[in-house]
Symmetry: C2
Subunit: 418 residues, 2 copies
C-alpha cells in the first residue's frame, strides 16, 4: 500500500469548519487505500498570538521557552484533526514531534532535523490508522522541545515523507500551484504542471513564498516527489483529479519535464543596495568589509566587486531592506575608516528580478535576451549576478512590474510548454 504525506497550512486549519474539510479530504485518500500521514500547521494566527504573549513578558523571549510555548499551536491542531477524522468514522492518532520522535539538533527556534524514527508511526499505519504529526517541531538530545522556524511544517512534512519513503508529499496551501511569476503582476502568468527542484529552490529563495526553502532543500536531498496544490477546492473532488492538480516538484529531467529554457520569473522588493566606494584594491578588502557585516548578523545577498581602477575599487552588495539602516550605520561608523573608503552610499529603491530555468544550463543567449528586453524598455541594470540556472538583476524598483511583464512575454512563459 503506498504511503502519502499531506501537509496543511494554517489557513487550511483556520477554524473548526476548515479542520472538518481537511478531515474529509484526508478520509477520501484513506478510503482510496492509501496509508496516510498528515502534518498540519497551527491554526492561522495562533503562532503570532503566542509570540505576542511571549513578547509582552520578555522583550527577547528565551529561545528554549519560546519553543516550549510555540509547540502548543501544532499540538492543538493535530488533536483537533484526529477528532475530526474520528467523527467521520476514520481511525486516527496524533503524535507530537517528540513522540515520533523527530530528533533535531540543539538550536532553538531554527533547529534542523537530524533523524526520524518511524517505528511507532509505521505500526499505527499498519493497524489502519491515519497518523497525524505536529509540523514545525522536534526534540533535541537534551529532551527539550525545538522548533524549525517559521514555515517549518513544510520541512517536517517533506522530512517525514523522506524518512518513510512516501510515494508523494502533498503540500496543501492557499494557492493552486507554482506560477511562472506572480499573477498579481502578470495576469498571463501560468501555473506550471511540473518544476524541477533546482528551479523551485531558486524561486523559493527569491520570494515565491509558497514553500519554505528548507523543505525544498530536503525534498531535493532525499528526492521526495512533492506537490503543491490548493486546499480550497471541494474536499470531495475526485481523487484522480486532485492527485494531478497543482505543481509537482520533480527531480528527474525526463519526458515529464517542461522543455522551456526559462521556467519562471521571481522578484524581490525586500532588498536594499549598499556601496562602499574607493577602497584600496588589495587582497582581503572584501573580507574586511563583509566580516564586520556578518559579525553584526546581517545577511548579504548579491555581492559585486568591480575591477579596480587607479588602485581603488568599488564594493557593492545587497541586504534585506529592514537591515539597511543598521548596515549603513555600521559601514559609516566602523568600516569606512577601517578600509579607508572614499564614500559609503546606499539605495532602498531597488528590486531584484531573476529568471530561473534548468534549461539555461544547455542554452546560451538567455542572459543576453534578458538584458536586451530590459534595455528595450529603457530599464537600467544596476547589478548582475548569475548561477547555473538563474540570472538576477538589480533595477530601480519603479520598473519592477514593467520588467517582469516584458520578460514574461519575451520568454513566452504564458504558453504551455512541452
Amino acid at each position: 500500500m503506498s504511503l502519502i504525506v499531506h501537509k496543511y497550512g494554517g489557513t487550511s486549519m483556520g477554524s473548526t469548519e476548515r479542520i472538518k474539510n481537511v478531515a474529509r479530504r484526508v478520509a477520501k485518500w484513506h478510503k482510496a487505500g492509501k496509508q496516510m500521514v498528515v502534518v498540519p500547521s497551527a491554526m492561522s494566527g495562533e503562532t503570532n498570538r503566542l509570540i505576542g504573549l511571549a513578547r509582552e513578558i520578555q522583550a527577547e523571549p528565551d529561545p528554549r521557552e519560546l519553543d516550549m510555548l510555540c509547540c502548543t499551536g501544532e499540538q492543538a491542531s493535530v488533536a483537533l484533526l484526529s477528532m475530526a477524522l474520528k467523527a467521520l468514522g476514520v481511525d486516527a492518532v496524533s503524535y507530537c514531534g517528540w513522540q515520533v520522535p523527530v530528533r533535531t539538533d540543539a538550536s532553538h527556534n531554527k533547529a534542523r532535523i537530524e533523524s526520524i524514527d518511524d517505528t511507532h508511526v509505521r505500526k499505527a499505519l499498519d493497524s489502519g490508522k491515519v497518523v497525524i504529526i505536529t509540523g514545525f517541531q522536534g526534540i533535541n538530545a537534551n529532551g527539550d522541545l525545538t522548533t524549525l522556524g517559521r514555515g517549518g511544517s513544510d520541512t517536517s512534512a517533506v522530512a517525514i515523507a523522506a524518512a518513510m519513503n512516501a510515494a508523494e508529499c502533498l503540500i496543501y496551501t492557499d494557492v493552486d500551484g507554482i506560477y511562472t511569476t506572480d499573477p498579481r503582476v502578470v495576469p498571463e502568468a501560468r501555473r506550471m504542471r511540473v518544476v524541477s527542484f533546482e528551479e523551485m529552490l531558486e524561486m523559493a529563495s527569491m520570494g515565491s513564498k509558497v514553500l519554505q526553502i528548507r523543505s525544498v532543500e530536503f525534498a531535493g536531498k532525499y528526492r521526495v516527489p512533492t506537490r503543491v496544490l490548493s486546499s480550497l477546492t471541494d474536499p470531495d473532488m475526485p481523487l484522480g483529479q486532485e492527485a494531478k492538480s497543482g505543481t509537482l516538484i520533480t527531480f528527474e529531467e525526463d519526458e515529464h519535464m517542461e522543455q522551456a529554457v526559462v521556467s519562471g520569473i521571481a522578484f524581490n522588493r525586500d532588498e536594499a543596495k549598499v556601496m562602499v566606494r574607493g577602497v584600496p584594491d588589495k587582497p582581503g578588502i572584501a573580507y574586511q568589509i563583509l566580516g564586520d557585516v556578518a559579525a553584526a548578523n546581517i545577511d548579504v545577498d548579491m555581492i559585486i566587486q568591480n575591477q579596480g581602477v587607479d588602485g581603488t575599487t568599488d564594493f557593492t552588495f545587497t541586504v534585506h531592506r529592514n537591515e539597511y539602516n543598521k548596515t549603513m550605520e555600521l559601514l559609516s561608523n566602523q568600516v569606512k575608516g577601517a578600509v579607508q573608503a572614499r564614500e559609503v552610499a546606499g539605495d532602498t529603491n531597488v528590486c531584484k528580478i531573476s529568471i530561473v530555468g534548468i534549461g539555461m544550463r544547455s542554452h546560451v543567449g538567455i542572459a543576453s535576451l534578458m538584458f536586451k528586453t530590459l534595455s528595450e524598455e529603457g530599464i537600467n541594470i544596476q547589478m548582475i549576478s548569475t548561477s547555473e540556472i538563474k540570472v538576477s538583476v538589480l533595477i530601480d524598483d519603479k520598473y519592477m512590474e514593467l520588467a517582469v511583464r516584458s520578460l514574461h512575454r519575451a520568454f513566452e512563459l504564458e504558453k504551455e510548454q512541452h
Copy 2:
C-alpha cells in the same frame, strides 16, 4: 536548602500582567534561599476554550485526543512563567509532565499519578534554577499524554511536593484560605489558620471548592504540609508574613491544632432526593435498586433505608441535581417494576448541610446539638448520615442560609479557638 512547591490557579495566570506578578512572588521566595518548584494552571478560560473547539468537531471528543489538546494550556503557561522569571533575572526552566516524567495510569481525562522521577528536576534545582512544571498532566506507559481531570493541577503540585519531600506545598488561589463556612452565607465566617486533612477532605467533597479532592487525598496519604493562600496579595509583601497566611492543612493533632469539636460547616445545593417507596423488605433489594443506577453511571451520595414495616420498606438516596431527571426515568421505567415498588418520588428542592470536625471523635452530643439547633428554627430534617468526623442532614433548601447561620452560631465558629 529547603524545597518549596508553589501552585498557581488559572486566575492567577490569567494575563501576562498577572504572570509577571506570579514571577515576582516566586522570585521573592527564590531570593530568600528556597529551592522553588512552581506548578501553574492554564491561563483562565483556556481549557474551556480548547474543550469548546473539540466539541465543535466531535460531540464526544476522543479522550486521548482531548488530553493531547488540553495539555497545551499548561504548556503555554509554564513557558510564559519561565520567561517572566528570566525577565526578572532569575534563572528558570520549564518542563512538561512527560519531561519530568510524571507517570500516570492509562485512563485519559482522569488519570492517576503512579510515579514521579525527580532526577531532572533535582539537577536543575541544584544548579540554582527555579523549575516550572505543567500541572494537570502526565504520560502513560504507552507514551501518550494524559490529564488528571479538572483541577488536577492541585494534585500535580501536591504529588510533586510529596515525591520531592518538599517542606511545604503552597496553593495560591483567589480566596485567602479555608473558612468555617461560606462567608457569603455567614458574614461572621472565620478563616481557619489550621485544618486537619481529614476535615479538609470532608469539606472539599461537600463543595468547598477551594482544592481538588484528590489533591487533599494525596496530601493526606503522603503527609505533605499544604497551605491554601491568596494570590491576590501584593507579590512583594514580606515573605515571613506570606508564609504564615492562609490556612495550613496539617496531619498532626498537636498543639497547633485548633481544639474545636466542630471546625466548619459545609453545604451543597447540587443534590436531589429520590425515593423508592413500598418495596418488599428482603435481602438484595438495595443492590437491585442501586445496581441499575450505578450501571447508568449515576453517582449516589447519601443512602438511607428505614426499618421495614408490614414487610415493605422505603429506600431513599440523593444524586447530583443534573442527573435527577435521568435517575427518575430509570427508576420509573425500569427499577419500579423490577423491585415491585409501590411508588417512585423525588424532590430537587433539597440541600445538604454538614458539620465537620475532627474533635467529634472524642465528643458526644455534637449531633444532638445540631438537631436541637435545627429544630429550634423549625427546620425539618429529611435525611441524616454520619461519618466519624461529620454529620450531614438533608433539609428543604429554602432553609439553607438559616440553617448554616444558626449552626455557625450554635457551635461558636466565629470565635478564634485555641
